[in-house]
Symmetry: C2
Subunit: 196 residues, 2 copies
């Protein structure tokens, strides 16, 4: 592997370990051992464990943005169904993982928001960008008449983000997709119903 491939591989392995164990409990030794990289050469790739953690977050956020593009920019589908398809697809992925791991950004927000201001602000930015993606889609639904124009799209978008992150947490605790399924059904039967 060349330098970039090695770096990508360290990040990929780090993402998997941090998703399972959290940031503080993930030792660099374990990451480098799994990546087959000599321990001493870590600092060739990252200045510190903190920089490594931030790179893992950025990598995850970039990949997640691609998922958001796939679903939320899909003009073949109505705006509300774009959100529904995204949530259904996330549910299927979580179910494949037996409802373990959860959402990396939610996990790290939970673990690090009170401990590290750089992590906290980066995670806040990512949540805000996700909320804005939902909000833009909701505004399109308001324009085409499929969603009540009196609703505040940004507030509803935040409500969806909160509910989804909480449903992921409950699914992880219950080891069941039931909270995710219930969240989607209830959201579309109540908050996002056309004629509320």
């Amino acid at each position: 592997m060349n330098r970039n491939e090695t770096c990508d591989n360290i990040i990929k392995i780090g993402t998997s370990l941090i998703s399972r164990q959290g940031f503080n409990a993930t030792g660099l030794d374990a990451v480098l051992k799994e990546a087959g990289v000599p321990k001493g050469s870590f600092y060739y790739y990252f200045k510190s464990k903190e920089e490594f953690g931030l790179a893992v977050i950025d990598h995850f956020a970039e990949r997640y943005d691609q998922r958001l593009n796939t679903f939320l920019d899909d003009e073949e589908v109505t705006p509300l169904n774009r959100i529904r398809n995204l949530l259904e697809s996330s549910l299927a992925r979580l179910e494949q993982n037996h409802c373990s791991k959860g959402c990396l950004i939610g996990n790290l927000g939970q673990e690090l928001a009170d401990q590290n201001e750089r992590f906290r602000t980066r995670i806040e930015e990512i949540f805000a960008s996700w909320r804005e993606r939902y909000a833009a889609c909701l505004r399109e639904a308001q324009k085409d008449g499929s969603l009540d124009p009196e609703l505040d799209a940004a507030v509803i978008a935040g409500f969806i983000l909160s509910g989804w992150e909480g449903a992921i947490l409950r699914a992880k605790v219950m080891k069941s997709p039931e909270p995710l399924r219930d969240f989607i059904e209830t959201l579309f039967a109540t908050v996002l119903r056309k004629n509320r």
Copy 2:
């Protein structure tokens, strides 16, 4: 302090440290030092760190049940307003804490659901009991005509629990009560609105 007082004090200090740092990152040394208890005598009170963690969870759940009784059994108030008062009171407490710490049960569910089956099942039980308390209140609202009888009270109760846990996470990340405020307003303006 007698034995029980010392034990209660260790649990109280443990609750505070675990709320801030998580379970794995909380060392027994730090807990015992703050409690002024000699290190060697910990095992006089608890069999293991795991037993200590479970005692912290049980202590928290007992106190939270008292809060649920205070608000959800308050017959001076309509059933839906009991839920609203509970959420408003929780919002005020989180705001007092500058939106740090979050919910101990949510935090530990996040951290430990994939790591420790005893913690996972205990946390699952506690979430289920909270959901049932909400559901009972929603059923009362359905009986007195203030909530659509076609809604599935258990599903809506889970939706509220998910949304609230997610809003606490987002408030912790944003260091702002905005997600909690938005959650309460949106919940009562949409899902729990009388004439949806």
